[in-house]
Each structure stands twice: as structure tokens, then as C-alpha cells.
């Protein structure tokens, strides 16, 4: 297997394994894996913004909340099918994210972090305020959809497949977006925005667009979570949700697509194990991991795997007497 094909083969095998999961796992475990898919989508959105475009967001939980509530309100009020709420939530978040991205353009690094952090803090209050629509602090209780066409799947299994399908679709779209011309422009802005501008890239437009697309991904993830959990409440969208997403993004690997999946697994499963120690333990462990990764593995799990892979292949290449050393490792910062 050649270097370029291996990741694709691994990805395909992982996808096959993911498709087989529903037939081996209990409903509760499956629910957790649906959550992993959802987090992975949200984290990919965050990766685009922070990893590829170099803009901070400590407030992506806000877009997750908007997506979740948009979907929940559509289902609750107008009986719209959950499937149709997904694109609507995505478009809504795209618009909101784009609009939030416009003023954010003027804000560099830390100021953007501040503004988004405040947004994350403010969201639960705003949600509670519009009680008429959001059900206040009680939240909205929804029902899980059944599998269509008489498929022999229970709701949890069906929702898992929906999440997985959306994940694959969005990852495919995202990978194509980031690999092409647009992706190169996005990375160029991160690496040196003045040079990027001099090359004729409309940095203002691209930055707002990335903010919008990133928000849209996170919004779709939020909308999916409304169906999977079948319940939305303002306090589940507090500032810690935003921090969780960011932790997943950093631990998985900021400027990587596969990193989003690793990060999602981390934020889904590590707290579960940690909860056995103490109610407060998950966050302490998150914090320790976060700081530890910043010291030891700033490129996250995906970056670590890539480095190991390069090291392994490099020694093989040297043995074969060729000098084709892959240079991809340094596209991450």
C-alpha cells in the first residue's frame, strides 16, 4: 500500500466497522456513539475555523445551541420532520455565523476569544429569556423518530445511522473544501494574512465565510443532538460545552480532519470513565489533559499519529535509498 492510499484504506475500514456497530452494541452504547458522530461534526467545524483559519472561538457551544433549538422548535411547533430541520439549522447557523464573523474580522486573536467566550456565557440566559419559544429553563421534550420504510431498526439504531451518514457527508464536503483552492486560501490567511492579501485573497470575505461554514457544521451537529437526546434545555449549552468542543478539537488535532473523530471520542468517553472517581473529576482530567497536550503533543492525536507514521516511513525510505520524505507534517501549526 502506498503512502497516499493508506489513510483512505484505514478510513474505509473504520467506516465499515462503524456500520457494523449497531448490531453488536447495546442501545445505550450506540447512543454514545451517535454522540461521538455529533461531536465529530461540531469539532470539524471548529477545526476549520481555529485549526485551518487561525481564528479563535471559545463560543462554538452557542452555535450548537442555536442548531439544537432551531431543530427542536421546528419539530415541536410545526411538526417538521427531523431530517428537514438539519439543513434549515445549518443554513440558519451559516447566516448567524457569517454575521457574527463580520465584526469578528476586526478582532484579532485574543479579542475574538473574549467576544466568543462572552457569547458562550450569555447563551443560556438568552435561551431562558425567550421562554415562549424555548420553554424556558424547562426546555423542550421531543420524541425520537422511528426508522422509515419499515426497516427492522429501533430508533436508537436508526438515529445512529442518520448521524453516521451526516458525518460522512459533511466530512467528505469538508475535506474537499479544505483540499482545494478555497482551503489553500484559508490556510494562507492563517499563516500570513498580509501575504495572503497581497496574493489577491479577499481575506475579509474568506474569514467571515469560514466563520459561517464552521458555525453551520456546529449547528447541524446541534440539530442532530436535539433528535438523538430528544430533549433540549438551556443549561446544557453553557460555557463548558464550548470549552468541551475546544478541548476535543485540541486533543484530536487542530488542523486535521481525522482529528475531529479522535477528539470526539475523547470528550465522549473520557468523562464517562472519570465520573466513577468523582462528579468533579471529568473536568479536572480534561484540564490536565489539555495542559499536558499543549506541552507534549501540540498537534493532538492526529498530529502524533502522522509524526509516528512519517518516522516509520522515513526509516523505510532511507533503507530503500530514496529521498522522498513526505513534508506534510509541517502543514499543522
Amino acid at each position: 500500500v502506498s503512502d497516499s492510499r493508506l489513510p483512505r484504506v484505514v478510513g474505509l475500514l473504520a467506516l465499515l466497522a462503524a456500520c457494523a456497530l449497531p448490531f453488536f452494541l447495546s442501545n445505550f452504547r450506540l447512543f454514545q456513539f451517535s454522540q461521538v458522530c455529533i461531536y465529530a461534526i461540531a469539532i470539524l467545524g471548529l477545526n476549520m475555523l481555529t485549526g485551518y483559519n487561525g481564528q479563535f472561538s471559545l463560543g462554538h457551544g452557542a452555535f450548537y445551541a442555536i442548531g439544537a433549538y432551531a431543530s427542536a422548535i421546528m419539530m415541536d411547533r410545526w411538526n417538521i420532520s427531523y431530517i428537514w430541520t438539519l439543513p434549515v439549522a445549518g443554513v440558519l447557523c451559516l447566516v448567524v455565523g457569517f454575521l457574527f464573523g463580520l465584526p469578528a474580522l476586526r478582532l484579532e486573536g485574543l479579542y475574538l476569544a473574549l467576544a466568543t467566550f462572552s457569547l458562550a456565557l450569555a447563551v443560556p440566559q438568552i435561551l431562558k429569556y425567550f421562554e415562549h419559544w424555548t420553554g424556558g429553563s424547562q426546555g423542550l421534550v421531543l420524541s425520537k423518530p422511528n426508522a422509515p420504510f419499515g426497516l427492522p431498526l429501533n430508533p436508537d439504531q436508526w438515529l445512529y445511522f442518520v448521524c453516521l451518514a451526516v458525518l460522512v457527508l459533511l466530512f467528505w464536503l469538508g475535506a474537499n473544501l479544505l483540499r482545494g483552492r478555497v482551503g489553500r486560501a484559508i490556510v494562507a490567511i492563517r499563516d500570513n494574512h498580509i501575504a495572503a492579501e497581497a496574493m489577491g485573497i479577499n481575506t475579509a470575505l474568506y474569514k467571515s465565510l469560514v466563520f459561517g461554514v464552521s458555525a453551520a457544521y456546529t449547528g447541524v451537529a446541534g440539530a442532530l443532538s436535539a433528535s438523538v437526546i430528544a430533549y433540549v434545555a438551556p443549561d446544557s449549552f453553557n460555557v463548558f460545552l464550548s470549552v468541551t468542543l475546544l478541548i476535543g478539537s485540541v486533543i484530536g488535532g487542530l488542523a486535521s480532519i481525522s482529528g475531529a473523530v479522535f477528539g470526539a471520542m475523547f470528550i465522549q468517553f473520557v468523562p464517562n470513565w472519570a465520573q466513577d472517581i468523582s462528579k468533579a473529576a471529568p473536568w479536572a482530567i480534561f484540564g490536565v489533559f489539555l495542559i499536558g497536550f499543549m506541552y507534549l503533543m501540540p498537534f493532538g492525536i492526529a498530529g502524533g499519529i502522522r509524526l509516528l507514521w512519517i518516522r516509520a516511513t522515513r526509516s523505510r525510505v532511507q533503507q530503500e535509498g530514496r529521498s522522498a520524505v513526505p513534508t506534510q507534517a509541517h502543514t499543522t501549526t
Partner: protein, 293 residues
């Protein structure tokens, strides 16, 4: 009119708390170009330490002063041990480390002292002060005094002592300072220590009002952000003034704009931050940082 004056005074009292925390944020920002997202949580932790000491039977002011000492040491140690390794890392790494600190402090406090709300004593008399028909809360007035005293001390320290001068120099121009023999690394650590002290003051002053719990400082911190943004992250005096302005505005808006009340408090702060950043990103007293390409 009476209500108005009352609200302004109590606004100044909360403003003093925002001012202390904003000053802490600005000090660290000036020295290291980092916004310490964990500042509020460190303050909360210090407040819990104070609570434990009072609970163990120490008189209030003894506990208060020893807490300040512990906070100072804590700040210095955190800078030396946790922040130092990422000092020259990209901003994102440093922000992530402070976020890590935030969640660690928050969960440790919950772990040690549980999430149950605890009453925190106020050192000031219960009886409110009455002038004509206007009632001033004694705690409010005491708060203002304590804040002003701390600010005065810090002003004198930075203005008239050699150590204060060295710290300012280290923040302003690290390379030249090192050349004249200032130990820049230690000055940064001292800065973190002092910032932790301001935070602790803010925490201990606000705890009697909000009752002590691990999420005590979330709201205070967002207002301190607003204060620092309004005054300018590059201007300590501006941040203090910003704190008082923000406190008064928050109170007046809460009283007179009926649809906001207390339910949208954070949203007001968010709006303030965004408006300031849109209209005058450097804040009222900040200086524009010019970058050379």
C-alpha cells in the same frame, strides 16, 4: 432621584469588584500579552481558601490577609510551573493552558468543597447607612473603600518603588530590561502573583453578595472582560475606570430598562464588549499597537 443615587452607589460597589478583576487581567495582559481566562476561577479558589480559614475559627481580617498571601504565592507558582513552559508558544496554546487552569480550578473547588452554595461573611456592619431618604448598604460602601485602598496601594507600589519600576520595565521592554539586569522571568511571576491578589480581593468582596459556589466568578469575569475592553487592555487606569463604568451601567440598565432586568445580565456585558470592539477596539484609554510587517 433617591433610587437613582442608590443604584449608582451600589453600581460603584460592584464596579469596584469588576475593576479589581479587570486590573488583574490587564496586568497579566500587559506583561505577557495573554488574557488569563482562569483569573476568575483562581479568585474563586482563593475565596474558598478564605472561607475554610474563617470556618476553622480565624478572625475575618486575619483570614483575609493570609488569603492574599496564599493567592500571591499561588499566582507566582502557577506562572513559574504552568505558564512558563508555553511562554513563547503561539497564543492559542497559552489560551488553551489558561482554559485548562479554569476547568481544573472549577472542578477542584467542586471536588473539595462540593457544589452546595455557602454563605460567606461580610466584615462590614449589617445596618445600612441612611442619609435623608437614601439607603446605602454598608457592604457596598465597605467594598468601595477596600477597592480604592487596594488601588491606591498598587498605584503607590508601581509609581514609587524600585520593584514596581522594574516590573513595569519588564512588561514594557523585556529585552532591554534584561540587559540592565532585571530578572524578567521573575517579574512576570510577580505580576501573576499580584494579579491573583486582586482577584482574591474581588472574590472575597463579591462572595457575601452572591454566596459562595464554584461558579461564583463566571458572571464577574465576563463583566471584568467588558471593563478591561472598555478601558483598554493596554491601560491599567482605564481598566479600573472601565470597571466602575460597567458596574454603574449594569445596575442602571437593570433598574430602568424593564425588559432586561437581571435575566439578561450577561447579554448586556456581551453587547458592551461587542460594541466597544466595533466602535473603538483599543478601548477608551488604550493605545493602538502598530505592527511592523
Amino acid at each position: 432621584m433617591d433610587i437613582f443615587i442608590q443604584q449608582v452607589v451600589s453600581g460603584l460597589a460592584t464596579g469596584g469588584i469588576y475593576a479589581s478583576l479587570a486590573l488583574a487581567l490587564v496586568m497579566i495582559y500587559q506583561a505577557t500579552d495573554v488574557v488569563n481566562f482562569a483569573q476568575g476561577e483562581l479568585a474563586m479558589f482563593a475565596t474558598y481558601v478564605c472561607w475554610s480559614m474563617i470556618n476553622a475559627g480565624l478572625p475575618y481580617w486575619v483570614a483575609f490577609v493570609s488569603t492574599l498571601g496564599i493567592a500571591f504565592m499561588g499566582g507566582v507558582i502557577i506562572e513559574r510551573v504552568i505558564i512558563r513552559p508555553v511562554e513563547h508558544a503561539p497564543i492559542l496554546s497559552i489560551v488553551m493552558v489558561t482554559l485548562g487552569l479554569l476547568v481544573i480550578c472549577n472542578s477542584l473547588a467542586g471536588w473539595i468543597w462540593t457544589y452546595v452554595q455557602k454563605p460567606f461573611p461580610s466584615p462590614f456592619p449589617e445596618r445600612p447607612l441612611k442619609i435623608d431618604n437614601i439607603v446605602f448598604g454598608a457592604h457596598d460602601l465597605g467594598e468601595i473603600q477596600v477597592t480604592l485602598l487596594v488601588l491606591l496601594c498598587i498605584y503607590l507600589f508601581f509609581r514609587f518603588t524600585p520593584l514596581g519600576l522594574a516590573m513595569r520595565a519588564a512588561a514594557h521592554n523585556p529585552v532591554s530590561s534584561r540587559l540592565v539586569g532585571i530578572r524578567v522571568g521573575w517579574m512576570l511571576a510577580l505580576g501573576w502573583g499580584l494579579a491573583a491578589v486582586f482577584g482574591a480581593v474581588a472574590g472575597m468582596m463579591v462572595a457575601p453578595v452572591l454566596t459562595l459556589e464554584p461558579n461564583l466568578m463566571g458572571g464577574v469575569q465576563i463583566y471584568a472582560f467588558a471593563a478591561a475592553t472598555l478601558g483598554g487592555f493596554t491601560s491599567p487606569g482605564g481598566a479600573v475606570l472601565g470597571g466602575f463604568i460597567v458596574g454603574v451601567v449594569e445596575n442602571l440598565v437593570g433598574t430602568y430598562v424593564s425588559f432586561i432586568g437581571t435575566e439578561l445580565k450577561f447579554t448586556v456585558a456581551l453587547a458592551m464588549i461587542i460594541v466597544v470592539l466595533l466602535v473603538k477596539p483599543t478601548g477608551l484609554f488604550g493605545t493602538t499597537v502598530v505592527k511592523r510587517v
